[in-house]
């Protein structure tokens, strides 16, 4: 991480490249190390990467443009259902994933504009409430669009969704390549990692672009932004659309990895979870957001496997059911982090200044 920071500040390029190389190797070897502990951890890591992807998308809307969105998971749902319906026995359509993912992104983008257009004049709490309602509307539609024409198969969800497949190479099947055995989750890990790296690069480039500066101005003061000659309407719509597209792609990958989706996966708590990742990691800072997503994905899982044994070691038996205490500890950790690092664990320089100037 220090290496990455150095790269960020362009201090010592050689050291930065060396750090980056070490990190790249570590990331490439990681799934095999995790598989040693248990395949479950590879799956958990894959989900964590998906959450990184989602958090980065939401960061465009919330962190860059300053538009509070509580219904972000709706775009994830749109992407997931587009994939599920175009690659499953439900309609007996089986398109390849590289055709569906762009379609899913485009659909989610369309929904982003659909949400953005009527909410252009809303801000803060009001925007939050409308987006929250939007998220619920999408979920309820998915839950009920089984009649009169069965589109989404309602609460039962869609199953037997095709995995990613290139020709006869399927990402779901274990395989031995060059003497190394790759399980399904390990294969997915690599494709997810590639997507994540691409999305990090896109986000960093966006932040430094003219578009990024326009979002920054809008977040700070919309009236003043307009007085600078910024087309605030289009820029806000663009933020919604881009954020939604990321959600759509993540949704498609989620469908393929799980092989089964239902409206249950896209409840409000999921939206809040992704938002927490953004806020806790450090709104507006791409690396902070990734860190937040990783922490919030791993902490509950780590607690799942440690709360029981720790209790037995301390008291000789399990006093409290791990499932109960896990979320309690998780919530407690969130409160502590926000108390001691209100701008996030790894805040953007700007966000830090904003908080300081407001406190002053």
């Amino acid at each position: 991480m220090t290496a990455l920071l150095n790269l960020n500040r362009r201090r010592d390029p050689r050291l930065a490249w060396a750090g980056l190389a070490v990190m790249a190797i570590a990331l490439l070897v990681l799934p095999f190390a995790l598989a040693g502990i248990g395949t479950a951890w590879v799956r958990i890591t894959n989900l964590a990467i998906l959450y990184c992807f989602l958090a980065l998308g939401l960061n465009i809307v919330v962190g860059f443009a300053g538009l509070l969105d509580l219904g972000y998971i709706a775009f994830y749902a749109v992407g997931a259902y587009v994939y599920a319906l175009l690659a499953s026995p439900h309609f007996n359509v089986h398109l390849p994933f590289w055709v569906i993912l762009p379609i899913g992104a485009a659909f989610a983008c369309l929904f982003g504009v659909l949400l953005g257009t009527p909410t252009l004049k809303l801000r803060g709490d009001y925007l939050a409430i409308v987006t929250l309602g939007f998220g619920e509307i999408i979920r309820i539609f998915l839950n009920n669009l089984s009649q009169p024409v069965n589109i989404t198969n309602g609460a039962q969800g869609v199953y037997m969704i095709d995995p990613f497949r290139i020709g006869s190479f399927s990402f779901a099947k274990p395989e031995v390549i060059a003497g190394l055995s790759f399980s399904g989750p390990v294969k997915y890990y690599y494709i997810l990692l590639a997507f994540l790296v691409a999305s990090i690069v896109i986000n960093l480039r966006l932040q430094d672009s003219r578009i990024g500066r326009a979002w920054e101005a809008i977040r700070e003061d919309e009236v003043a932004a307009r007085a600078m000659g910024i087309n605030t309407r289009n820029m806000k719509l663009l933020a919604f659309a881009m954020g939604a597209s990321f959600g759509g792609i993540a949704g498609g990958m989620f469908s393929a990895i799980q092989g089964f989706i239902s409206p249950e996966s896209f409840i409000l708590v999921e939206s809040i979870m992704v938002l927490s990742m953004v806020v806790l990691g450090g709104m507006g800072n791409v690396f902070g957001v990734v860190l937040g997503a990783l922490l919030l994905s791993y902490i509950p899982e780590v607690l799942r496997y440690t709360v029981g044994p720790v209790q037995r070691a301390m008291f000789g038996r399990t006093l409290i059911d791990p499932e109960v205490i896990r979320m309690l500890l998780f919530g407690f950790a969130l409160v502590l982090m926000m108390l001691f690092r209100p701008a996030g664990i790894w805040p953007s320089a700007l966000r830090k200044r904003e908080l300081e100037s407001k406190a002053a």
Binding site: A217, E220, A224
Partner: protein, 241 residues
């Protein structure tokens, strides 16, 4: 009289909030290179006039012409590209950004790097205090400094016409004096200015011509010096008997 060619012409401009007619068909002309003020008490319709010009409040009737072009109802972000830049009421600086970043934001519509750097140096010369504090966030500046930053930021867009909305608002008297000095300096650099002010005395002192607004109508207009001596203006706005 050989008036300068007009840059901004308001022709029977009327602006309303629903049923409430805040600006009732006013005629205002600002010539190229002029500094013209629009003065009046709180609620006279000054800021609404500005909103009408900038397209932030729908125009009920009448027209706004800028440099010969009808710009009635045109969105404010488009006007910036035409060189018509507004400094909003309450300054509206980007509090979390540094002074230099604020000024950079002012040049958003431009892409000529050399020209931007040149203008930045020019503005720092005009406001030495801003240069001293260029790495500080705008939120930490005093009200007067924020006003200077707001004017400097508007200058970064290379305006031909600058609309200033109540630059003296909420400032200490000494600071007000300083802000007006800079307004005058900006005007001398060749930028046409329409100044909206409650502080009638100072506004008339720096302006070449003035308009007096009362409940949505222009009641008096003319040479700024003459208005300063006008008994009605003196009684109503300058606190003299």
């Amino acid at each position: 009289m050989d008036d300068p060619p007009p840059l901004l012409v308001l022709d029977k401009l009327a602006v309303a909030y629903g049923e409430i007619r805040a600006v009732k068909g006013i005629d205002v002309v600002v010539g190229k290179g002029e500094l013209v003020c629009l003065i009046g008490a709180n609620g006279a319709g000054k800021t609404t006039t500005l909103k009408g010009i900038c397209g932030t409040q729908p125009v009920r009737s009448g027209t706004v012409r800028y440099d010969g072009e009808d710009i009635t109802g045109m969105a404010s972000f488009r006007l910036v590209r035409k060189g018509l830049v507004m400094v909003p009421e309450g300054r509206g600086v980007f509090g979390g950004l540094t002074i230099e970043e604020n000024l950079g934001m002012g040049a958003y519509i431009r892409s000529d790097r050399a020209g931007i750097a040149e203008d930045l140096a020019r503005i720092y010369d005009l406001f030495p205090r801003l240069r001293e504090r260029r790495r500080q966030t705008a939120g930490t500046l005093s009200g007067g400094e924020q006003q200077m930053l707001a004017i400097g930021r508007a200058m970064m867009a290379r305006p031909r016409l600058l609309l200033l909305d109540e630059p003296s608002m909420g400032l200490a008297p000494l600071m007000v004096q300083k802000v007006f000095e800079t307004v005058l300096a900006v005007a001398k650099s060749g930028v046409t200015i329409l100044l909206i002010e409650q502080n009638a005395k100072l506004a008339l002192e720096v302006s070449s011509r003035g308009y007096v607004m009362e409940s949505g109508e222009i009641t008096l207009e003319g040479d700024a010096r003459a208005l300063l001596r006008d008994p009605k203006v003196r009684a109503a706005y300058l606190g003299a008997a």
